[in-house]
Structures are given as structure tokens and as C-alpha cells.
């Protein structure tokens, strides 16, 4: 399931690329009125409180996350088994509304510690005053290898490459960046009771940009047989 998380990163790349286009921003006033400031402050503290509350709830017992968050876990599908994820994703910013429909993420297990991955999506961008742009996304291919296959301290590496899908017009429409992007994130996990903590850290290299580092902390816990919840904090720096 964590493969889903990678999709989000992937989409975010698209989003950032899109948002790098020049956009005219109409400002009504130089400084926000008090009410807007108040709303912003309340929103900020609401999210902070939500994050803190979730952390407190989960910290007692954390489990490897399966919900669709970005931080990968060390898990792989069983030998010869498929994990297929289809999804609608949505990203809203002050400049655009980006979505995918669908995102297709196909994973296949080889042996007890190898996972093959391929991901592709249909992209759509809606920006004020601009024509709606649609195209097939870049492709992402990857191999996850659980280097240390221990129950309580597994370690895996998940190199991935993002490249232009043959026939895609996404780059012509500035929906994706030129060049190839590669990433080499490492993952580890710690099980505590029913729950777990996942950590991820690794570099991202782009053909036309400085290297970046991604890091993630995810806390996950099952509730009963059918429900699993997770929260994560994700950072990306150059």
C-alpha cells in the first residue's frame, strides 16, 4: 500500500512543475484584513493540533502503515502476488487545482524481499484564466529490495526512475519537467505493539535541478480487522 505514497510524491512533482509557470495573481489589498489573518491562524493551529493529537494517539503503539501516505514501508508483496492500486488524487493550491484520474500503480512480488513497480497516471490541471490541460503522466519504474529481512528492524532500498512515457504530451503542455528523475530512498521500520513507525530517507536527483533529500516519518496502527489508520510527516529539502 505504501506504493500509494510514492504516487503522491509523483503527483506533487507534477504540481510543482505546473506551479512554476508564470501566473498573474490579483491582489486586492497589500496586507490581509484581520479576519483573513484570524482564519489563517486558526487553520494553522488546527492542523498543528491535529498532527500533535494524532502523534500522541499513535505513539504508544505504532505499526507499519498501509494507508495511502507518501512514506514507504519495507514491505513487499508475496512471491508471485500482485498489488494493484487505482486512485483519484487531488492537489489544490492558490494557483491551480491538479488531479489524476486514474492513477495506476502496479506492484509485483518476487521471492520474499523483492518488489517491482510501475506507475502511470492521467493528469489534469485547472488554473484560473487558463485552458484545462490534460495529458498522460511520466512513468515511474522501481525495484524495492528488503536488504535486511528482520521482523523488528528491517531495512529496504527502493530506487526509482521517472521518465517520459512514450507518446505523452505532458512535457509539451508543461505538466511535467524535462529530463529523468531518479531517487534512492531507504526505509526502516520499528514495530511497537500493534503499531509501527516507518522511517524513510534518501536523495532525489533530477537532470536539470540540484539534488534533494526526502525524509518521512509515518505512524500506523490497525483498529480491528478491517481498519488501519496512519499519519505522517514528510519533508523535502535541497
Amino acid at each position: 500500500m505504501r506504493a500509494l505514497l510514492a504516487q503522491s510524491s509523483f503527483l506533487r512533482m507534477k504540481s510543482q512543475t505546473l506551479e512554476s509557470k508564470p501566473v498573474v495573481i490579483h491582489r486586492t489589498y497589500l496586507t490581509p484584513p484581520p479576519l483573513i489573518n484570524f482564519v489563517r491562524v486558526v487553520t494553522w493551529y488546527s492542523w498543528t493540533f491535529l498532527g500533535y493529537l494524532s502523534f500522541v494517539v499513535f505513539i504508544g503503539s505504532i505499526a507499519l502503515g498501509r494507508p495511502p501516505i507518501e512514506t514507504e514501508d519495507t514491505g513487499t508483496p508475496d512471491d508471485g502476488k500482485w498489488e494493484i492500486n487505482t486512485a483519484w488524487t487531488y492537489t489544490r493550491s492558490s494557483r491551480a487545482k491538479d488531479s489524476t484520474l486514474p492513477t495506476l500503480d502496479v506492484n509485483y512480488g518476487i521471492g520474499s524481499s523483492i518488489q517491482l513497480k510501475y506507475e502511470i497516471a492521467g493528469l489534469e490541471r485547472r488554473a484560473a484564466g487558463e485552458k484545462i490541460q490534460r495529458a498522460i503522466s511520466d512513468s515511474i519504474a522501481g525495484i524495492k529490495w528488503r536488504v535486511r529481512d528482520q521482523e523488528n528492524f528491517p531495512i529496504s532500498v527502493f530506487p526509482q526512475i521517472q521518465f517520459q512515457t512514450p507518446g505523452s504530451k505532458a512535457r509539451d503542455k508543461a505538466l511535467t519537467e524535462d529530463g529523468i528523475t531518479t531517487s534512492f530512498p531507504w526505509q526502516t521500520s520499528r514495530v511497537i505493539g500493534l503499531s509501527s513507525i516507518d522511517l524513510e530517507l534518501g536523495p532525489v536527483f533530477h537532470a536539470h535541478a540540484d539534488p534533494r533529500w526526502i525524509s518521512g516519518l509515518a505512524l500506523t496502527r490497525p483498529f480491528g480487522q478491517r481498519l488501519e489508520l496512519a499519519i505522517e510527516f514528510r519533508d523535502e529539502v535541497s
Binding site: L4, P68, W82, I84, F233
Partner: protein, 46 residues
Amino acid sequence: MLSVNAGAHIKLMPDAGLLVSIGREIYNHDSVRATLTAYLGWQILR
């Protein structure tokens, strides 16, 4: 860029489940901050 996301996996069938997540970027110095990210998906295990 720092973001926070929360998600859920709801197992509806032995080999399939619903995936949901929501989140936002707390700050982003390199690009426009995403004020909302959402994910709604379906997972099949075979």
C-alpha cells in the same frame, strides 16, 4: 517543504480495500504551497 498527511485503509473484501488520505503542506519555500491534497483509491491484492 514539510507536509502532514493522514490516511486510512478499509478492508472491504479479503483481497481488496478502500484507500483514503488527506493532507496539506505546512510550508513550502520552493513552490506554491499545496493547501489540500486528497487521495481516494481502490487496492486489489491477487
